[in-house]
C-alpha cells in the first residue's frame, strides 16, 4: 500500500495536467520559453542532489559501523549478571539449542572481566584499562568476524595463541595500500622476541658486571673491614649481605620472575612464551601524521595483566602474557579496549573451574544465528526459557542501541533540514508561477474563450509544476548519484585544491568515505521533490482557473 500510495500524488497530477493535448503543448512551450522558471528548478536540483549524497554517505557510515559492531558482537549475547559467571556452559548451550536450535548457526562461551594491562615502553611502565576476554579459539570464529581482524594471515585462517615465527602483515589487510603502513611488524613474532630477550640479557649482564665490579670493590673494602671486625666479632655475615644485594638486582631487572606460573622452572624466554594474548591494536600503537602506525609493543613482547578472581570478594591477581597478534576491528572503542586470551587459561587463573568436578564457569555465551533468522524472536524465546534475574539476553542491536539510534536520529534531522531546502525551492516555484499566471492572464482568457475548462487551465500550471519538479529531481538524481559515486575522487580533488584534509581516515573506522545508494530512499526523495513542485503550483493554478474570461481577455 505504501509503495503504491507514494506514487499516487504525482500520477494524479500528471493525469490532471496532461490528459489534453493543448496542456501538453503549452506546458512544453512555457518550459522552453520561460527560463526563469528553470532557475527555481536549480534549488530543487541542489536539494535533491544533497539529499541523495547525504543519505548515501550516512547510510554508508551507518552500515559500516553496524557491520563492524556486528562483526565483533555476535547476533545474540547470553550473559550472567555476576562477574563470576554461570557454571557449566555446555548445559546452557544444550538448553539454548533446545529453545531455539533451529535458528542458531553457532555458539561459543566467553569470559569477560575488567582488567589492567601493564607493559614496558623504553623502561617505563604503561598502564591501560582493558576488557579481558577469554575466547575459545576453535569456536569463536563461528560466531563473529573476530579472526578477520587479525594481523597474521595464518591466524586469520585459524587463530592460535602460540607466537608465530614471523610473517605479520606490514600492509593493512583490510585496506591494502602500495606502501607498508606498518613496517614495524616485519620482525614481529619470535625474531623480535629473541632480539629483545637477548638485548635485555646483554643489558642485564652489563649491569651485573658493573655491579660485580662495584661489589668486588666494596668487597675488598669489606674484607678489610671484616678483617678488622673479625678481630673483634667472630660471627661475620658479609657474604649474606652480598647475596641479598644480588637478589634485589635480580628482582628489579626481571619483574616477571616471581609471578611466573611454574616457579622453579627457569624459562628460556627466547624459546618459550607465556600465555598468548591478542590485544586490540589501539592499545599498543598510534598513527602518526604520515599515516604510518607506530608500535609501543609488538607480537613477541611480554605484558602483565591484573584482573579480579571469581570469588567473593574478588581478589586482584596478575600474570604474565605474551602478545601473539593484534586485533583491529577499526572501531577504536574496541581496538583500544579489548584483550583476548584463551578461555581455559583465564578460567584457570580466575578460579572458575570447580576443583571437584572440573566443570568450568563462563560469563557469557555468544550466539550466531542462521542467515535470515529473526533476531528479536530468538531473543524473546530465550528470555522465556531463562529467568531474567539470572541471565541478561540481548541482541547486538540492543547492546549498541543508543549508538545506532543516535545515527538514525542524526539522519532524520538532516533529512528534515535538507527537505526544507526543497520546500524553499517550492516557494520559489510558487512566486514564479504567480508571475507567470499574471503574465499569461490574457492567454488564459483566450483559452477559456476557445472552450478550455477551468480544470484544464489549472492543469496547464500543475503540469508545468510537474515538469519542473521532474526536471529538477531528474537533474538532482543525476548530480547526486554522480557525486556519490565519485565522492572519494571529489574529496581528493578538494584536498588537493585546499591543501587541508577533508576526511581523516585515522579518526574514522575506514579509509574511504563509504556510500550506499538505496533506491527506495532515492525514490522517496524524488517523489517528495516532485510533490513539493506540484504542491507549490496548486495555488497559482487555482488562481489561473478562477480568472474570469472577459476580464482576462481585457488584461494588458
Amino acid at each position: 500500500m505504501s509503495s503504491y500510495s507514494q506514487f499516487i500524488v504525482p500520477t494524479l497530477a500528471a493525469n490532471a495536467a496532461i490528459d489534453d493535448m493543448y496542456k501538453l503543448l503549452l506546458c512544453w512551450r512555457y518550459l522552453r520559453t520561460r527560463w526563469i522558471a528553470l532557475a527555481s528548478v536549480i534549488s530543487v536540483t541542489l536539494g535533491v542532489a544533497t539529499m541523495i549524497v547525504v543519505n548515501a554517505v550516512m547510510a554508508g557510515f551507518s552500515n559500516e559501523m553496524q557491520t563492524r559492531i556486528h562483526g565483533i558482537l555476535s547476533d545474540i549475547i547470553f550473559e550472567s549478571h555476576s562477574l563470576s559467571g554461570f557454571q557449566d556452559p555446555q548445559w546452557h548451550i544444550d538448553e539454548i539449542k533446545r529453545a531455539a536450535g533451529d535458528q542458531i548457526a553457532g555458539m561459543t562461551p566467553t569470559v569477560a572481566v575488567p582488567a589492567m594491562l601493564n607493559f614496558q615502553v623504553r623502561g617505563q611502565w604503561v598502564t591501560r584499562q582493558v576488557m579481558f576476554i577469554g575466547i575459545d579459539p576453535n569456536t569463536h570464529a563461528q560466531v563473529s568476524d573476530f579472526s578477520r581482524y587479525l594481523q597474521h594471515p595464518a591466524n586469520r585462517q585459524q587463530l592460535s595463541f602460540d607466537l608465530r615465527e614471523g610473517g605479520y602483515d606490514t600492509i593493512d589487510s583490510q585496506n591494502p595500500t602500495e606502501t607498508p603502513t606498518r613496517p614495524a611488524l616485519e620482525h614481529a613474532g619470535w625474531p623480535h622476541r629473541r632480539m629483545r630477550v637477548n638485548r635485555e640479557r646483554l643489558w642485564k649482564e652489563r649491569l651485573d658486571s658493573k655491579k660485580s665490579t662495584e661489589n668486588s670493590a666494596a668487597r675488598s673494602v669489606d674484607q678489610q673491614v671484616d678483617a678488622v671486625l673479625a678481630a673483634t666479632s667472630p660471627d661475620g655475615n658479609s657474604s649474606e649481605i652480598s647475596s641479598e644485594t644480588v637478589d634485589t638486582n635480580e628482582k628489579r631487572t626481571n619483574p616477571f620472575q616471581k609471578a611466573r606460573p611454574n616457579q622453579g622452572h627457569v624459562m628460556d624466554l627466547t624459546k618459550e612464551q607465556f600465555t598468548g594474548i591478542v590485544p586490540g591494536i589501539g592499545l599498543a600503537s598510534f598513527r602518526n601524521r604520515q599515516g604510518v602506525d607506530q608500535f609501543l609493543s609488538l607480537p613477541g613482547d611480554d605484558v602483565k595483566i591484573t584482573f579480579p578472581t571469581a570469588g567473593t570478594p574478588p581478589k586482584a591477581v596478575s600474570d604474565n602474557f605474551t602478545i601473539v597478534d593484534f586485533y583491529e576491528s577499526k572501531m577504536s572503542e574496541y581496538d583500544s579496549n579489548f584483550v583476548f586470551v584463551p578461555i581455559d587459561a583465564l578460567q584457570r587463573m580466575r578460579g572458575m573451574i570447580d576443583p571437584q568436578t572440573g566443570i568450568p564457569s563462563v560469563n557469557s555465551i555468544q550466539i550466531r544465528l542462521k542467515p535470515g533468522a529473526q533476531l528479536n524472536e530468538v531473543r524473546d524465546r530465550l528470555r522465556d526459557v531463562f529467568p531474567a534475574d539470572l541471565y541478561a539476553i540481548a541482541t547486538w542491536k540492543d547492546k549498541q542501541g543508543p549508538l545506532l539510534s543516535a545515527v538514525d536520529m542524526e539522519m532524520a534531522v538532516l533529512n528534515i533540514l535538507l527537505f526544507l531546502i526543497i520546500a524553499v525551492a517550492g516557494f520559489g516555484i510558487l512566486a514564479i508561477f504567480f508571475m507567470i499566471v499574471v503574465e499569461k492572464t490574457r492567454d488564459i482568457g483566450i483559452l477559456k474563450a476557445l472552450g478550455a475548462r477551468s480544470s484544464g487551465i489549472a492543469g496547464i500550471f500543475l503540469g508545468y509544476g510537474l515538469f519542473l519538479g521532474l526536471v529538477g529531481a531528474g537533474a538532482g538524481l543525476v548530480l547526486g548519484v554522480g557525486i556519490t559515486q565519485n565522492i572519494n575522487q571529489i574529496r581528493q580533488a578538494v584536498e588537493w585544491c585546499t591543501g587541508s584534509r577533508v576526511f581523516d581516515p585515522s579518526i574514522y573506522y575506514f579509509f574511504q568515505i563509504p556510500t550506499i545508494i538505496d533506491p527506495v530512499t532515492i525514490s522517496w526523495i524524488i517523489v517528495g521533490a516532485v510533490t513539493i513542485a506540484i504542491g507549490s503550483s496548486v495555488l497559482p493554478a487555482v488562481r489561473a482557473a478562477r480568472l474570469h474570461a472577459v476580464e482576462a481577455l481585457r488584461h494588458d
Binding site: R29, I446, L447, G451, A452
Partner: protein, 237 residues
C-alpha cells in the same frame, strides 16, 4: 437561431453601479449577418460576450438553435464555446507561444484528449492548412504571431474560429486595430463566408461603413436596442 431575451447586465465598480444592458432582445436568423453598432460603452461587446457565453447575464435568456444556453452547466458552456460558437476579437488574441497553424488548431487541441488527438491530427492539420491557405497564409503556417502583420493575425484568428465549424461566428471589432485596407479585406472575408458558406455572423463595430456591409444592423444605445435595420435574412426583434 441565436436569440437573446431581455438581457440585463450591470457592472459594479466600487459604490457605483453601471447598467450596461437593459433588456436587450436580439435575434439572428440562420445564415444571417448582423452588425451591432453603437457608441463606446453602449454595451455592444458585453452583448457579444453574453451571446458567446463568456459572460453571464444578470437576467434574461440566451437561446441557440431553440435551446436555452445561458443556464447550462459550466462544462456544457465550455463545450458549446468549443463546438458551436466561433469568436474573433479586436486584439486578435492569438497565443504567442504557438505558431499560426497551432493557433488555428487550438480549439481542436482543447477538444481532444492526447490519444484522441492523434487519431484526428492529420485530418485537423489538413483542414487548418486549407483554411489558412484560403486566407492567403499558406506561407505563414509556422510563423509565430509576433512575426505576422495585424491583418495576417486577424485572418489566423478567423481561421481559428472557423476550424470548429461553428454554428455562429461572433466578431468583436475585428478591424479595430487594422488599417483600412486590411480591415476591408477582413470584412470582405466575413461577407464571403456568410454568402458562400451560409455562416451566421454577428459583427460588432463602431464603424458605419463596415456595418453597412452586413445584411442587417442593430444599433445599441444606453443598453437597449435603439434601431433595427432588417437585412434580407437577419432581423432584430
Amino acid at each position: 437561431m441565436l436569440e437573446t431575451r431581455q438581457i440585463y447586465k450591470q457592472y459594479q465598480s466600487g459604490t457605483t453601479t453601471l447598467e450596461v444592458l437593459r433588456g436587450v432582445d436580439f435575434l439572428l436568423e440562420q445564415g444571417g449577418f448582423l452588425a451591432v453598432v453603437g457608441q463606446s460603452g453602449s454595451g455592444k461587446s458585453t452583448l457579444l460576450h453574453v451571446m458567446g457565453l463568456l459572460d453571464a447575464p444578470d437576467r434574461g435568456e440566451v437561446w441557440l438553435d431553440g435551446q436555452r444556453i445561458d443556464n447550462l452547466s459550466v462544462w456544457e458552456k465550455d463545450r458549446l464555446r468549443n463546438n458551436s460558437i466561433g469568436m474573433v476579437f479586436q486584439a486578435y488574441h492569438l497565443l504567442p507561444e504557438l505558431t499560426a497553424l497551432e493557433n488555428v488548431l487550438a480549439p481542436l487541441l482543447i477538444r481532444h484528449g492526447i490519444f484522441d488527438w492523434f487519431s484526428h491530427k492529420q485530418e485537423a492539420q489538413k483542414e487548418a492548412e486549407e483554411l489558412l491557405d484560403r486566407f492567403g497564409l499558406s506561407d505563414r503556417l509556422h510563423h509565430r504571431p509576433r512575426q505576422l502583420s495585424g491583418g495576417e493575425m486577424q485572418r489566423v484568428a478567423i481561421a481559428r474560429a472557423l476550424i470548429t465549424k461553428p454554428r455562429v461566428l461572433l466578431a468583436d471589432e475585428p478591424t479595430g486595430n487594422l488599417d483600412e485596407e486590411s480591415g476591408a479585406g477582413i470584412i470582405e472575408a466575413l461577407a464571403e463566408l456568410n454568402r458562400d458558406n451560409g455562416l451566421s455572423i454577428v459583427l460588432v463595430t463602431h464603424d458605419a461603413d463596415i456595418a453597412s456591409q452586413a445584411r442587417g444592423i442593430v444599433r445599441l444605445a444606453a443598453g437597449t436596442v435603439d434601431m433595427m435595420n432588417h437585412g434580407a435574412t437577419g432581423s432584430a426583434a
